[in-house]
Symmetry: C2
Subunit: 270 residues, 2 copies
């Protein structure tokens, strides 16, 4: 997911997009059906535009589907019955843009699945959707931290895992404000498992560069809609795609070759 | 779910509501935790108001959650691997109000789950949410019937099952227009399995009366949020509740005693 929580979209070079479209219309026959395919930043933005503008998906609807699927992905890697009480505690760190909105929905579904989420959401969006999602979490008695301890051992001791919903693709670390930037610096030092939503926060969505050398090293990555190119550099244990809502025609248009979803599963392991 | 697709809410007598509230605050200790509890029309309206106004759930969000869960309920009773190709065809009949919107979402998720839905949606709502949900189905190549054959054998032969998303609680048969009324008359005569969403269309949500004597006799009922009182007169094979999104506090407030949801399931069998 690329659109920012405050309603902005990523800029897009229409010439390059057209070129991309015509190339994806002719899939390489040597490409095996199992081959994983990553979307460039422009393709991902075009896919999201297609869902929002052509298919008329609502942002509330997409954020709900992605957040629900992210929570389901957490349950696949960390099944509740295998966890101690302490391990069920999940710190969900949310940024001010769309990635953070997905994090809020993920936290709510984790609560419904009987995990014990706590939210750190230091830079709150004024966007109505974000405010409503925040209210849902608050009313469901999910605790919100007023600050994140800088002493990482406190976090390692208090939580079983951390969900990183700070920065999505197309959002620069400089845009999210000091508290989020400091939170990212803290997340890098944690020893408990880290689950990143869509991209590891701070990574360049295209190259994985920028922050990737000394950046976050999540154990689990949940690609939303489809994997972004930087996911090729993900070296954690579990990579899921949460994009069952992407219509077949759109998958074909972007030559997405991803493993099938089974039964009613909303995520697939890559 | 009670709110109408065009934005109307059910009228509500505040005196009786208050009385209801105070009575649900003192649950009968003799009531066992397993006991099934149905909501009166007023309680159901109050529960939905609580979700929309206090918890700030969006209508798009609730309709998506309910439609998804309805499709999952269909897969539980009619698992895809056990069905012949013909049995995978599902006719989804949608009314113009919120029940119909849930039906449109249900059809989309059935398509995603690899069933073959066809939609009959004769009286289209002008509501933006309905229009967007319709576009999603159309763009996903789900066929829309322009008329429903009056010869029931044609429907029995063409489809494996029918989803009834015509009328929710609080909507009178007279409000939905001729084509929906005629569709209901046709649905009564079918011999293929019928799945009703929230209440069997045409039943009085409170008493099950009105149309219940010679009304629809669904095989499967999927109660949305919580079962309405008329569900006590449901005598079909499978009754599900799709209300995992209802926060614990709200369940307690309305003294809802329902079986637990397991794992990440969004429906529970009653």
């Amino acid at each position: 997911m690329l659109l920012k929580g405050r309603g902005g979209g990523s800029p897009c070079n229409s010439h390059r997009l057209t070129a991309t479209m015509s190339s994806v219309a002719r899939p390489d026959p040597a490409e095996t059906p199992e081959e994983q395919r990553f979307l460039s930043t422009e393709e991902a933005a075009a896919l999201e535009r297609e869902l929002l503008e052509d298919y008329r998906f609502g942002r509330q609807q997409l954020v709900e589907l992605c957040g629900h699927a992210s929570a389901v992905a957490v349950t696949k890697v960390f099944p509740l019955p295998t966890l101690s009480r302490k391990q069920r505690t999940v710190l969900v760190v949310c940024g001010p843009e769309q990635n953070g909105a997905v994090g809020l929905v993920c936290a709510r579904h984790l609560r419904v699945f009987e995990y014990e989420p706590t939210i750190f959401y230091p830079t709150r969006s004024l966007d109505l959707l974000h405010r409503d999602l925040t209210t849902q979490c608050e009313k469901m008695d999910i605790p919100f931290l007023s600050y994140l301890p800088t002493e990482v051992q406190l976090i390692n001791d208090a939580y079983g895992l951390v969900v990183d919903a700070v920065l999505g693709p197309g959002v620069q670390p400089g845009e999210i404000g000091g508290p989020c930037t400091r939170a990212l610096a803290t997340l890098k030092l944690l020893s408990i498992p880290l689950v990143s939503l869509d991209i590891p926060s701070g990574w360049d969505a295209e190259t994985g560069g920028g922050d990737s050398e000394d950046g976050l090293r999540p154990d689990v990555l949940v690609s939303l809609a489809a994997p972004k190119r930087c996911a090729g550099r993900f070296s954690g244990r579990h990579h899921f795609v949460a994009g069952r809502f992407v219509p077949d025609d759109v998958r074909r248009k972007f030559a997405l070759r991803l493993p099938g979803y089974s039964g009613t599963d909303c995520v697939a392991a890559l």
